[in-house]
Each structure stands twice: as structure tokens, then as C-alpha cells.
């Protein structure tokens, strides 16, 4: 049986088109390569 309340929690708000700009400003575009590079630099 599906628990309606729990199921409802899975539905997060969808990104509104007017908010794309602010979303892009805060977007973290780093990939694993960047993360490894940072770790290597920190350990040097």
C-alpha cells in the first residue's frame, strides 16, 4: 500500500523558468577532476 504523505515528500518543486538565472549563479560546476586536483594541492 502506498503511504500518500510519504509519497508526497518525493515531489519537490520543479525549477521555474524565471529562476534559472539565480540557479545558474549558485550552480557548482566542479567535477571530480577539480575535486581531486584540490585534494592533491591541499596535501602538497
Amino acid at each position: 500500500m502506498i503511504d500518500f504523505e510519504k509519497e508526497l515528500e518525493k515531489y519537490k518543486p520543479v525549477l521555474e523558468i524565471n529562476n534559472i538565472e539565480s540557479e545558474l549563479t549558485n550552480y557548482d560546476l566542479r567535477d571530480i577532476v577539480d575535486l581531486i586536483k584540490n585534494i592533491v594541492n591541499e596535501n602538497k
Binding site: 520543479v14 525549477l15 521555474e16 523558468i17 534559472i20 550552480y27 571530480i32 577539480d34
Partner: protein, 462 residues
């Protein structure tokens, strides 16, 4: 494969050490290759319409290598296909920022921006979906369903909206409607995990309903068989044939007995006695069987009666519970009325079933309807009008619809109908607009909305 050195940014063809800064970048090449493998998996899954899973692989591909433009672009396409236009646009914009020239994402963005009307529809659909989710959190199913339906009407591919509508229908036990939405989702995203779970749930309930129907049919059959027991005996030819055979055998035995009695009279008595014993035993067994049958029948009757009683009790309790809930709502509406929260009061009042109220509460309900609905309609109409003036047509339309619900056949309702027509005109839905105007002209006369609707009709016709 071309690799971008993370230390100095030099682009080069897969060396062990960077030709620019001399750092070891073999591991970068390996990560790029891994990203390409994951992208291929996502691509294959997308081809099989397994969009949700493809989405995960493509996200992983971009996390392994942010310069994997193909993965970004396909990710955007899948977002778009699932109706998540906001994320699709975001992904394509990111893609164009990574690779400015010869990038398919630029074409996608250009195409979307050219189709202004479609973009406006997507915007509204997403807004309505987010509102619906909020309404559901506040347990306002009806308003959520209106918004979700409108969102889907504006954007047919909107998978999340269809899934949420299916879930709401399941909660409302409207399984056929839920199934319709689930099927549409699976046509877009064949292995969508939410839709697959809802499908199971709907199928389970549909089977349960069928079983209940069959049980009901069986019970009806049993009752009709019991009522026509006499007829059953007449048409049971097997039983008659069996009896005839027994009589026949009995006759043969008797004939033999007579013959033997003539030859051996002494044996006749013994045979007669044995026959008597067998007959008595058969009669005893028959008696016992009849007793058991009668007992079983009594038990069935008792159980049926008990079941009826329990069902009646359950129904009574449910009715009491519902009645109490309705009464509690009446009290809340009174509180809202006293604090002049007309709109909230009207929403709650609309959800009350007056036929379940006692005479006293029914009287209060009628009083509240007279006061709360007109006040709420005025507030909602004013809000709708200001949204209309701000060109927020979807929101304004919903407000005007509410006015129709609360105070039909009033001047405010006529004005709302007129503006609903105007909104449909803005959406280039001339047929719908005309329907609204015609309703105003048919149901009202001598008021401003009537003359304005008539004018619009003339303009559209001319």
C-alpha cells in the same frame, strides 16, 4: 581523446604528463574515458525510453567530466522530454558556457526562445505544478487536481505532474483515472519507478474490486439456489437416475431372494434380516446427513445475519464519524467568519456535505452559505481582476472559476464569466471564449457584463 590539463588548462591528446606544466595527467584521461562509458550507457537507456535511469547515468557522466558536452546536451533533452523545462534550459545554458561554438545546445535554446507561446505555456505549467504540490501538502486535494489538470493541459509531457495527479487519484480511490495518467507516464518514460509503483497499486485495487464483485455474485447465486430448492430437486436428473438404478438393483435382489426362497426357504429369513439391517443403516446415515446439512444451513444463516449486523454497525459508525467531521467544519467556518477570513471560510464551507448535517447544523450551514460565499466571492473576484490586469491569466482564471462555484447566477459570476472569456481570447481559444460570452448573454441581461459579452461576440463574429 583530448584532455584539458586541470593545472594549466592546456588541451592535448592524452599524454602521461602535461605538455604545458609537466604534471601527471594520466588519471584525468582515465576519468574522461570513464565519463564517456557512462554517457554511452545513458544514451542506450534513453534510446530504450528508460529516461529516469538514463538521467542518472548522464548526471554521473557530467560529474566525472564537466567538459562532456554531449552528456550535458542529452541530459537537457531528457529533462525536456520529462517536462522539466527549467532544468533542460539550465543544462543547455551550462553546455553553451562550456563550449560556445558548434554546440547543439545553442540550437535547442534558439528553437525554444523562438516559440514564445510554448515557453509561456511551460512556465505556467511549472508554476501550476508547484502550486498543486503545495495545496496537496495542505490537504486541499480539489484545488491541487484543478491545477495539475491545467498543468497537464498546458504541457502534455509533464511527467511529474501526471505522476502527482495519479497519486492524488489513488488517494481519492479513483483508480481508473489514476491508471490513465500512469499509462501516459509509462508511454513517455517506460520504466519510471513512481509510475510502476502506482501501476501495481492500481492493479491491486482493481483486482480487489473484481474479487469483491465475484464474492457478491457468488452470494447472490447461493441465495437464489436456496430460494429455489424445490426446482433444484426436480431438474436433478442424476439423482432420479441413481434412485431408479437402486430400485432396479433392489428388484433384482428381491427376485433372486424369491427364487432362492423357493429352493432354500431357510436362507430367505437370513437374507431378509440382512437386508433390514442394511436398510436401517442406510436410513440412519441419511438421517445423520440431513442433520448435518440442517446444522450447516443454520450456521450459514447465523453467520450471514452476523455479517449484516457488523456491516450495518460499520456503516453507522462511518456515518457518525463523517457527521462529526462535518459539524466540526461548521464550527471552524463560524470562527473564520468571525475573524472575517472569508476565502478560507468559503473553501472549508464548500467541502461540507450538507445532507449529512442535523437540522440545527443545517440551519447554521444555510446561514453561513448566505453570508460567507458572497463575501468570499467579492474578495476572490477582486483578486482575480488584479491578476488579470497584471496578465497573470492562469491564476486569474482559477479565481474566476472559484467565483462560479460559490455564487453562480449572480452579477459577480456574470463578470467572472466575461473575464474567463477574455482570458480564453488572450490564449487564442476563440471557441471557448465564445462559449463563455454566450453563457453570459443567455443567462443574464441588463447588466454591464451582458453588454460587454455581446460586444465581444460581435467582434469575434465580424
Amino acid at each position: 581523446m583530448e584532455v584539458i590539463c586541470p593545472y594549466c588548462g592546456k588541451i592535448q591528446e592524452a599524454p602521461v604528463d602535461c605538455l604545458g606544466c609537466g604534471q601527471n595527467i594520466k588519471w584525468v584521461d582515465q576519468l574522461y574515458r570513464q565519463s564517456q562509458t557512462v554517457y554511452t550507457k545513458g544514451y542506450v537507456l534513453a534510446g530504450e525510453r528508460n529516461l529516469t535511469e538514463a538521467l542518472q547515468f548522464l548526471k554521473e557522466a557530467t560529474q566525472l567530466n564537466k567538459y562532456n558536452v554531449m552528456a550535458h546536451n542529452l541530459l537537457g533533452i531528457i529533462y525536456f522530454e520529462l517536462g522539466d523545462v527549467g532544468n533542460a534550459l539550465k543544462t543547455w545554458i551550462l553546455s553553451t558556457s562550456i563550449q560556445k561554438e558548434d554546440n547543439l545546445a545553442s540550437d535547442y535554446l534558439e528553437k525554444i526562445h523562438k516559440e514564445n507561446k510554448a515557453l509561456e505555456k511551460y512556465k505556467q505549467a511549472i508554476k501550476l505544478y508547484n502550486e498543486a504540490a503545495e495545496y496537496l501538502k495542505n490537504k486541499n486535494d480539489d484545488m491541487a487536481v484543478i491545477r495539475l489538470k491545467k498543468a497537464i493541459h498546458l504541457h502534455q509531457q509533464f511527467v511529474d505532474a501526471r505522476n502527482l495527479l495519479a497519486l492524488t487519484y489513488i488517494e481519492q480511490a479513483k483508480y481508473t483515472k489514476a491508471m490513465e495518467q500512469v499509462k501516459r507516464v509509462l508511454a513517455i518514460d517506460a520504466y519510471n519507478p513512481n509510475a510502476l509503483r502506482y501501476l501495481k497499486e492500481v492493479q491491486y485495487h482493481q483486482v480487489e474490486c473484481k474479487n469483491k464483485e465475484n464474492e457478491l455474485l457468488d452470494t447472490k447465486k447461493q441465495i437464489s439456489l436456496k430460494s429455489y430448492g424445490g426446482a433444484h430437486k426436480v431438474i436433478n436428473r442424476g439423482h432420479v437416475l441413481g434412485t431408479a438404478i437402486i430400485y432396479f438393483i433392489f428388484g433384482v435382489v428381491c427376485m433372486l431372494c424369491v427364487q432362492v426362497a423357493l429352493v432354500l426357504p431357510s436362507k430367505t429369513e437370513a437374507l431378509q434380516s440382512a437386508l433390514d439391517t442394511v436398510t436401517r443403516k442406510a436410513e440412519d446415515d441419511l438421517g445423520k446427513l440431513r442433520g448435518s446439512l440442517a446444522e450447516a444451513n443454520t450456521q450459514i444463516t447465523l453467520l450471514t445475519d452476523e455479517n449484516k449486523k457488523i456491516t450495518a454497525q460499520k456503516e453507522e459508525l462511518q456515518s457518525m464519524n463523517s457527521k462529526l467531521a462535518q459539524q466540526s467544519r461548521i464550527n471552524t467556518v463560524i470562527e473564520l467568519k468571525n475573524t472575517k477570513k472569508w476565502v478560507e471560510g468559503a473553501e472549508l464551507l464548500y467541502r461540507i456535505a450538507p445532507e449529512q448535517l442535523d437540522a440545527a447544523y443545517k440551519e447554521q450551514y444555510d446561514e453561513l452559505v448566505k453570508v460567507v460565499y458572497p463575501k468570499a466571492a467579492d474578495v476572490i473576484y477582486a483578486e482575480g481582476l488584479s491578476q488579470y490586469n497584471r496578465r497573470e491569466y492562469v491564476e486569474a482564471f482559477a479565481q474566476f472559476e472559484k467565483v462560479q462555484m460559490y455564487v453562480p447566477k449572480t452579477t459577480v459570476a456574470a463578470n467572472s464569466l466575461y473575464y474567463m472569456g477574455m482570458i480564453e481570447e488572450q490564449n487564442s481559444q476563440m471557441d471557448k471564449a465564445m462559449q463563455y460570452y454566450e453563457t453570459v448573454c443567455a443567462e443574464y441581461s441588463g447588466i454591464s457584463a451582458y453588454y460587454k459579452a455581446k460586444e465581444r461576440l460581435k467582434k469575434i463574429a465580424g
